[in-house]
């Protein structure tokens, strides 16, 4: 597969939590790695995130959450993408997420979960290898 266009990524903060240091650092790292990055800002509903993803025609969505609401909000994003026929968009997630929650999230369609301490370079690589372009 040849990559003709730049990879477009939506970095999104679902739920009510205001901790977006990680989301912003990753947004910048992805941009420095040559991707086009759109950051939603705080307090986005799954509906708003999916709408933005489709409108911006992104290849991947990076969801960040630190409040513990991931089990509810992450699967909802994937579900809505499916409903809109946009489930070719790669969805990854990160934040304070206990190991035991990860298998369930993957089963729900989140491609990978990145927990604290992950180098941004690993996230860049993962996106490059896994987006359907």
């Amino acid at each position: 597969m040849t990559q003709t266009n730049t990879i477009r990524v939506l970095v999104a903060k679902p739920g009510l939590d205001g901790h977006d240091r990680g989301a912003k650092v990753i947004a910048r790292a992805l941009r420095d790695a040559g991707m086009e990055v759109i950051y939603t800002g705080l307090r986005q509903t799954p509906e708003q995130i999916v709408e933005a993803a489709i409108q911006e025609d992104v290849d991947a969505i990076g969801l960040s959450i630190l409040s513990g609401a991931h089990n509810f909000l992450f699967p909802k994003v994937v579900e809505l993408l499916k409903k809109e026929g946009a489930d070719d968009i790669l969805v990854i997630g990160g934040g304070v997420i206990p190991d035991e929650d990860i298998p369930g999230l993957k089963e729900a369609g989140i491609a990978e979960i990145f927990t604290p301490g992950t180098p941004t370079s690993r996230i860049v690589e993962f996106i490059k290898e896994n987006v359907k372009h």
Partner: protein, 559 residues
């Protein structure tokens, strides 16, 4: 101040030492790095001498504890009189569960309460609102109405404990509930002591739980200042917070600068609202972070204290000693905790707590080892509290005041942090003050640049984080993490339904209408908020009423 000739001599001798003794060694064994830096990227010299603090004037710049400029501490006897308040931030699930945790902490020797509210509460939504889904009870306790607050403090005499509440945008509502619970216990408002965070400016730049736009938010804050100075003389009306600014990525210098710049904005707002500076300034309090760079952190606390005293005296002409004192709470740095080898976090927290104590904190929260993974378990919280108790009773550092004063390095860092923070504040003044600088995205951008640089330093290996980019091991997933009952949301919803069918709804409607009317004038809204709370109007109803009048803040996205 030191003798000029003598300093000259020291400089000569030092140069001599570097060219002979040091060079002999470094020619064979070079130092680990070419240059060394503090955690906040200040360059660190090989050796500090009197020469580095030659302009320091003991009486002008350090003085004595309990005296201007308070560099050495705000209390005359510091911890020899009374130890700092050990105050663990806690709350999760529903009010009953959190009440149990508070009673446990008090039984273990904790000396003050600190309430963590869940995100819907912090943003003024009831548990049954759609945006609350998945968030109820997660990062703190869910409070929908006075009913929950009564359960939260059940069996805890509010005239005996001091309570800190991390609540900002809806601070007036939670304070009103606290006053109402106390009244039911037979405790009058003037006996209450504690703190509400009530610091909206840092919510816009770092923490994110804003509701209303800046102007009405500042008005709510000054309403609280005014109300408390008349009715709750022992209440800290605001906790001007650098903690979250630091967590968002700021350096120690930026933490001091942006926090004090916000402090200046609150003082100006209150003065503009017609309050006398010496009426409200004694009840201003601060909240700082403690990261791993022990000596830089100690210097940071000392610099902040000195700088604030000077600002209050020179800029605002405050006269009461209490108006000049920077009293602060410290929490150890959440973002320094690692998910890898979590027990290592106990050591990090010890260093950070030590920095806070050596820096003269008035109260302290020590983080638990498992907080990069989940909310802390009871065992982890106990270790965190024990860490403070060991520092207090075994380390010896509490027996004399400001023991690091006079250290060439610490005094030099204290000077440079004060100086660089001052430069930032001047820049913010030029932008029109902190609210304007926030609106322009200046402060956010500065913090984000620091955060990004820090992350890149870790990835390049320039900065070592033990267990993360060096000394890693294969490990089993940790066990015994705290899980919040997923049913909390549903239970809160049921209770809300019950509440709304059993309370006097006519009284609620009237109280809300009165609040709406008051909010539209420039009168103080606190009495109307208290009235709403007492007839069991919910937090969401009260905040919605205010949203109707004030509108909502829309953040601009900056990356």
């Amino acid at each position: 101040m030191y003798d000029k000739d003598y300093i000259e001599k020291i400089n000569e001798k030092k140069k001599d030492w570097e060219e002979t003794t040091v060079k002999k060694v470094t020619s064979k064994y070079p130092e680990r790095y070419e240059k060394f830096y503090t955690n906040s990227n200040q360059e660190v010299d090989r050796l500090y001498t009197e020469s580095d603090i030659q302009d320091l004037d003991y009486l002008e710049d350090l003085g004595f504890p309990g005296q201007y400029p308070y560099t050495r501490g705000v209390q005359p006897t510091m911890y020899r009189g009374r130890l700092w308040t050990m105050r663990q931030y806690a709350g999760f699930g529903n009010a009953e569960e959190s009440n149990k945790r508070y009673k446990y902490l008090l039984s273990q020797g904790q000396t003050g309460l600190s309430v963590a509210f869940d995100l819907p509460t912090q943003i003024g939504y009831d548990s049954d609102q759609p945006l609350s889904q998945g968030e109820v009870g997660k990062v703190g306790v869910a409070i929908d109405s006075l009913k929950d607050m009564e359960l939260l403090f059940n069996g805890i005499p509010l005239d005996k404990v001091s309570t800190s509440m991390t609540i900002n945008a809806p601070a007036s509502v939670l304070l009103a509930m606290y006053i109402a619970v106390a009244e039911k216990q037979g405790v009058s408002p003037e006996k209450l002591s504690g703190t509400i965070q009530n610091d909206i400016l840092k919510e816009y730049v770092a923490r994110g739980t804003y509701i209303f736009p800046p102007q009405p938010s500042m008005r709510l804050i000054t309403n609280i200042f005014e109300f408390c100075s008349a009715n709750l003389p022992r209440w800290n009306t605001i906790s001007i917070s650098g903690y979250h600014i630091r967590e968002a990525g700021a350096t120690a210098i930026q933490e001091v600068a942006f926090t004090l710049a916000n402090g200046i904005a609150y003082v100006e707002a209150a003065i503009n609202a017609g309050l006398d500076v010496d009426e409200f300034a004694p009840r201003l309090s601060f909240f700082f972070n403690a990261h791993n760079d022990l000596l830089e952190e100690v210097a940071k606390f000392r610099a902040a204290r000195r700088l604030w005293a000077r600002i209050m005296k020179e800029r605002f002409k405050a006269k009461k000693p209490k108006s000049l004192m920077l009293r602060f709470h410290t929490q150890t740095g959440g973002s320094t905790l690692t998910a890898q080898q979590p027990d290592n976090n106990i050591v990090r927290v010890t260093l950070q707590a030590l920095a806070a104590v050596l820096g003269g904190t008035q109260s302290l929260h020590t983080n638990s080892r498992d907080e990069a993974l989940a909310l802390p378990s009871e065992d982890s919280v106990r270790i965190a509290l024990r860490t403070q108790q060991i520092i207090a009773h075994e380390s010896g550092v509490a027996e004399t005041i400001d023991p690091l004063a006079g250290s060439y390095y610490v005094e030099s860092l204290t000077n440079s942090i004060e100086q660089k923070a001052r430069e930032y504040i001047e820049k913010i003044d030029q932008l029109g003050g902190s609210p304007k600088a926030i609106e322009k995205g200046y402060i956010q951008q500065e913090i984000q640049d620091s955060a990004y640089r820090y992350q890149m330093d870790i990835e390049s290996g320039r900065r070592i984080v033990v267990g993360v980019n060096k000394f890693q091991i294969e490990e089993e997933p940790p066990k015994g993490l705290l899980k919040v009952d997923p049913e909390v949301g549903r239970k809160q919803e049921e209770q809300l339904k019950e509440l709304k069918s059993s309370r006097d709804n006519l009284a609620v409607q009237e109280a809300l209408k009165e609040l709406e009317a008051k909010a539209k004038t420039d009168e103080n809204v606190m009495p109307a908020v208290i009235k709403c709370v007492k007839c069991y109007a919910t937090l969401g109803e009260i905040c919605d009423t205010l949203r109707g009048v004030f509108g909502e803040y829309k953040a601009s996205v900056i990356i």
